[in-house]
Amino acid sequence: MRPNDSFVDAVAENLLDRLEDCKKSFPTALCLGGSLEAVRRLLGGRGGIEKLIMMDTSYDMIKLCKDTEKDVHNENIETSYIVGDEEFLPLKESSVDVVLSCLGLHWTNDLPGSMIQCRLALKPDGIFLGAILGGETLKELRIACTVAQMEREGGISPRISPLAQVRDAGNLLSRAGFALPGVDVDEYVVKYQSALELIEHLRSMGETNALLQRNNMLNRETALATAAIYDSMFAAEDGTIPATFQVIFMTGWREHSSQQKAKRRGSATVSFKDIQKKFGNGN
């Protein structure tokens, strides 16, 4: 992974900022794979984290993080490292205060299942903060690829694996049983010198396997056609090409009695008619 990737850093910053928005502190944190290196590096003491558990499915990734531990000045934080699968969290229930996942969950096969596991790992009133890539991501690349395939091959086949739509995010949070779910979206448009630079960037972010279905390798001619068409359709005046990355931020809490809840249906004590009578009709 390329160090100090500004797009990934921007997303990690956004995610970590949300810890500041909460009044409480989160002594124990679980950081799930994806961009966990960026999250740790940019933590900067936010959230009052004292114990950090870093988890990724890749042993190499964990090793990299462990080896660079001294470069990240988090001396006050007790860090531990696990190689594990977010679909089978090796954690006790109600053991962490916050679960952070920065651009990792869109890789997961069983996303709803993983999110349920995250919720269970949280202590009551614990928070889940996740950032995933949304459906608008790389729309320019998908368009160029589709057009290229139609012109060169006469048909299209899916090349980019499905990404969550914003409307799905809310459902995911509720299905996982999170209280007070929140979803918001940010679009980042990154400029590249050429379509090739984009592909190289995706490779270094480790996204190519997730985004480009491997069994449908793009043949060389169609790849060439894609690059040419991307340039012609989307290039700016200065020759750079834009690529959209849509990031969906999801927040959810493990239920706790202190949290406000929607009232039970039928428990209203005042009717709209009464309110209308009191304040008069019309505007």
Partner: protein, 59 residues
């Protein structure tokens, strides 16, 4: 291995054949959203010729 070479090979082609790339890309972009198979075949063949020359010349 195909994977290892693919990006830098593609790069060489795009640099060497930039004129043909522009011609082909421009042809397709002008017709979008009406896209039919081989509608820019002539331009693509010019690009392909240049691509093969590039690969033969350097490989």
């Amino acid at each position: 291995m195909k994977e290892r070479n693919s990006t830098s090979t593609l790069k060489r082609i795009l640099v060497n054949c930039s004129a043909q790339v522009k011609e082909y890309g421009g042809c397709v972009a002008a017709k979008v959203p009406e896209v039919e198979r081989d509608m820019c075949l002539k331009e693509f063949l010019a690009l392909k010729t240049c691509m093969l020359k590039t690969l033969q010349g350097k490989v």
